[in-house]
Amino acid sequence: MTFNSWEFLLFYPIVLALYFLLPKKARWPMLLIASYYFYMCYQAELVFLIFGTTLISWLASNVIERSERRWVKRTMLTLTLAVCLGVLFFYKYFNFLAESAVGIIRLFGGEVGSFELSLLLPVGISFYTFQTLSYVIDVYRGNIKTEKNFFFYALFVSFFPQLVAGPIERPENLIPQLKEPHSWSGENAIAGAKLMIVGFFKKICVADLISVYVNSVYNSPEGAGALGIIIATCLFAVQIYCDFSGYTDIATGCARVMGIRLMKNFDHPYSAATVKEFWSRWHISLSSWFKDYLYIPLGGNRRGRARQMINVMIVFLVSGLWHGAAWTFVIWGALHGLYQIIGTLTYKARERGLSRIGLTGESLAVKTVRRVNTFVLVTFAWLFFRANSTSDAFLLLGKLFTEWSVSPADTLAAMGLGTVEILMTVFSVLTLVMLDRLVTYEAKDDSSDLVIRRGGFAVYVWAIILCWALLLSKDMTSTFIYFQF
């Protein structure tokens, strides 16, 4: 059951109605049952994994809090990390490691058969594993108290809007809100509805429409030309942003209608002037998780410049691996680590260079150049993220420098980009940019409200329905990209 499915359109209103009609004490058990039902619609056979992770982390956190001996606390934390990460590693990385090991052995002339297992990747495992680990680590650090009620803790782990693809919530943000008895609020309903409308618009009217043109290049790299690769990669940058932030908007909106505020996960990432700033605006819940639970424990920037660079690279390599069990994701992560290292090492020299020509980092020209530069660097890295394999990625990379013989008209035709498709893409993206500005503006100024009060929501909902019909007619509907992580 994905957000863009008929089942969810039936599921959510029922859950919402029950949430506000039931007595306040019955709400959270209902949400827990609904969340597990939501998860079981994906993979009923693997529900024991999320339940097991929840139980182990809850038991461990209780032992950690009650024990006064440091070695007991540390042992329980280590065991919990080992078990939870072990499960994640097994289901997500076993086959990747097996395939890589076989490849290395064969590279040295050895003969070995494949020992991959037929494993189903549990949906959302990366997200709920990190969410439970942040809870246990925060208890260990003394930042939060344990939740005494196991089933309430289970709701924190499995809360359906953010279960499958985040945001990765922190216990101090979500648990108190789940406990608070929210009453129906018109303001929350309007804010939540706006977020859902924008989210569905991003996913259906932009991301899914664009995906077919991206797939035409990335699924057939042998026939791609340089211009096609550039267009497809730039479109993928838009697609993945709209797909993932669209999901987050829908998740956040669903929760907001119930009075629960999930953390912000995106903040106009493509307006970033540096790659470092990009990561403070993209998938904020994950980057802040890595900062708090990996980068700072490794020493952060407190142990000298060289160690800081190593820590940055470790974080981004792990981040790349977190996204997927493939070398393309590792390369993508390594590229971002490299960008940050080079950016940090050259910062002072760049600032000195700017001051010599009478400019500062605050001038519009410099900001514009930096934003374009950041977009180019990030988009280049997306090539590896999207490519189906490392061989495809390097094939596409090579073609960027060699395959310039195909004319622009032939390139667009090969990608399926006719006049209608180009205009539709342009108008849907421009509409989204303006709609996003409007919703941001209306969040600050309640005196005007196009999207909901003036009935404007009908225009956007109708656009979503028509685009959905178009996608269905061409069999182009798809699930959310981040569900595979």
């Binding site: 009217c205 006049t419 209608v420 498709e421 205009l423 539709m424 108008f427 849907s428 421009l430 509409t431 303006m434 709609l435 500005r437 409007l438 503006y441 005007s448 196009l450 003036r454 009935g455 404007g456 009908a458 225009v459 956007y460 109708w462 656009a463 028509l466 685009c467 019909a469 178009l470 007619s473």
Partner: protein, 91 residues
Amino acid sequence: MIIFTSPAVIIISALIIILDIAKEFTDGILGKILAVVNICLHISLIFPLMLVKAPIAEAVLVYMCSTFVYTASYLLFSVVFSKEAERGGER
């Protein structure tokens, strides 16, 4: 494209553009009526497209253009220009 050959599509599109701008300069009951009529026109644009049997992709394109005009008119007249007017008033 077939959409440019349909008088109904052209007339409704022209009305939509006029109302998109007019509603931003009209207050009170008339403003609300214009806003509602405007939204109804936007949504009903699909029907003349169906009548001329426009390909679904073209129909969606036309609707997306109208949505763009709707959003742009509000952003321009109610947000951007009102901010300029406020700044002018402050001077």
